[in-house]
């Protein structure tokens, strides 16, 4: 006995948890980006250097709504993947691609 707790073995149903956590992280990032886009600092910067402030706003919007890679869509997609993975882990390989 080494006195240390045993390292937990990898479990096949751990992937949905990782995907859930990633979805939460991306959702938080999306919220932060939304708040940044309407922050008073950016609005005040627009009065002094409009071109630069506009570029920041455009990049923020792009990060948020860039099609499939946008944070908003990505968070939902990760959550959907978590559900798919959970279903696959519960019902076996045949259900892995059942949800479109």
């Amino acid at each position: 006995m080494s006195g240390h707790p045993a390292r937990p073995a990898a479990r096949p149903d751990a992937a949905p948890l990782v995907w859930h956590a990633a979805a939460a992280t991306v959702r938080e990032a999306a919220r932060e980006v939304r708040e940044a886009a309407r922050s008073p600092a950016l609005a005040a910067a627009g009065a002094v250097c409009p071109a630069e402030a506009e570029r920041v706003g455009r990049l923020l919007r792009q990060a948020l709504d860039d099609g499939r890679d946008g944070l908003a869509v990505l968070a939902d997609g990760l959550l959907l993947d978590a559900v798919r993975l959970g279903r696959a882990a519960r019902t076996g390989p045949s259900a892995a691609g059942g949800v479109r």
Partner: protein
């Protein structure tokens, strides 16, 4: 990441058999967040605006005495975006590892799912990259804002100096031509 999300991440890592790595990552994130807050505070301190700036997740809520509507506020915003990008990078790495472990599912449908998962991993990394680009642009904007403000202040100061010198010159001219002498005549002698 909220404390709940961080805990969920750590729990997920532990479940995946990476308890030590997960705990280290969570500790790292906490340290990064503390450093980010300290950085915001230092930025606010530079501007002489008192207490530290808002922490992560409060970009649109200026607290009392914060430098929200200033270049320092914009630098703080960029800092928070970079922090989020780091978190997303960590997520992308964990998703990649989970993808490798979930690669035992056989069949064409599972292959399609694996492809989708890989695409999400790439999208997460791309999202982090996008956040870094926005953060860099915000930093550049704040620098430009500061430079523009300094330039305008210097112009205004030069204008004030020029006007003062012009008035001083005019006063000296009046004094030399005697116009000032009449004005400065002793009291009681006016009208003689």
């Amino acid at each position: 990441m909220t404390a709940g999300a961080a805990a969920a991440c750590a729990a997920a890592c532990a479940a995946a058999g990476t308890a030590a790595a997960g705990a280290a990552t969570a500790a790292n994130r906490a340290a990064n967040r503390a450093a980010g807050r300290a950085g915001s505070g230092a930025a606010a301190g530079r501007a002489g605006t008192g207490p530290p700036g808002p922490g992560p997740g409060t970009a649109g809520v200026p607290g009392p005495g914060t430098a929200a509507g200033s270049p320092d506020g914009l630098h703080g915003l960029a800092e928070r975006l970079r922090h989020r990008a780091e978190e997303m990078d960590g997520c992308a790495r964990r998703l990649g590892r989970a993808c490798d472990q979930a690669g035992e599912l056989p069949g064409a449908a599972a292959a399609a799912l694996r492809r989708r998962l890989r695409q999400r991993v790439r999208a997460t990394a791309a999202g982090a990259h996008g956040l870094r680009r926005a953060a860099a642009a915000a930093d550049a904007c704040a620098d430009r804002w500061r430079a523009e403000t300094a330039h305008r202040a210097a112009l205004a100061a030069a204008d004030r100096r020029r006007r003062a010198a012009r008035e001083a010159g005019a006063a000296a001219g009046r004094a030399a031509s005697g116009v000032g002498a009449r004005v400065q005549a002793p009291a009681g002698t006016a009208g003689r």
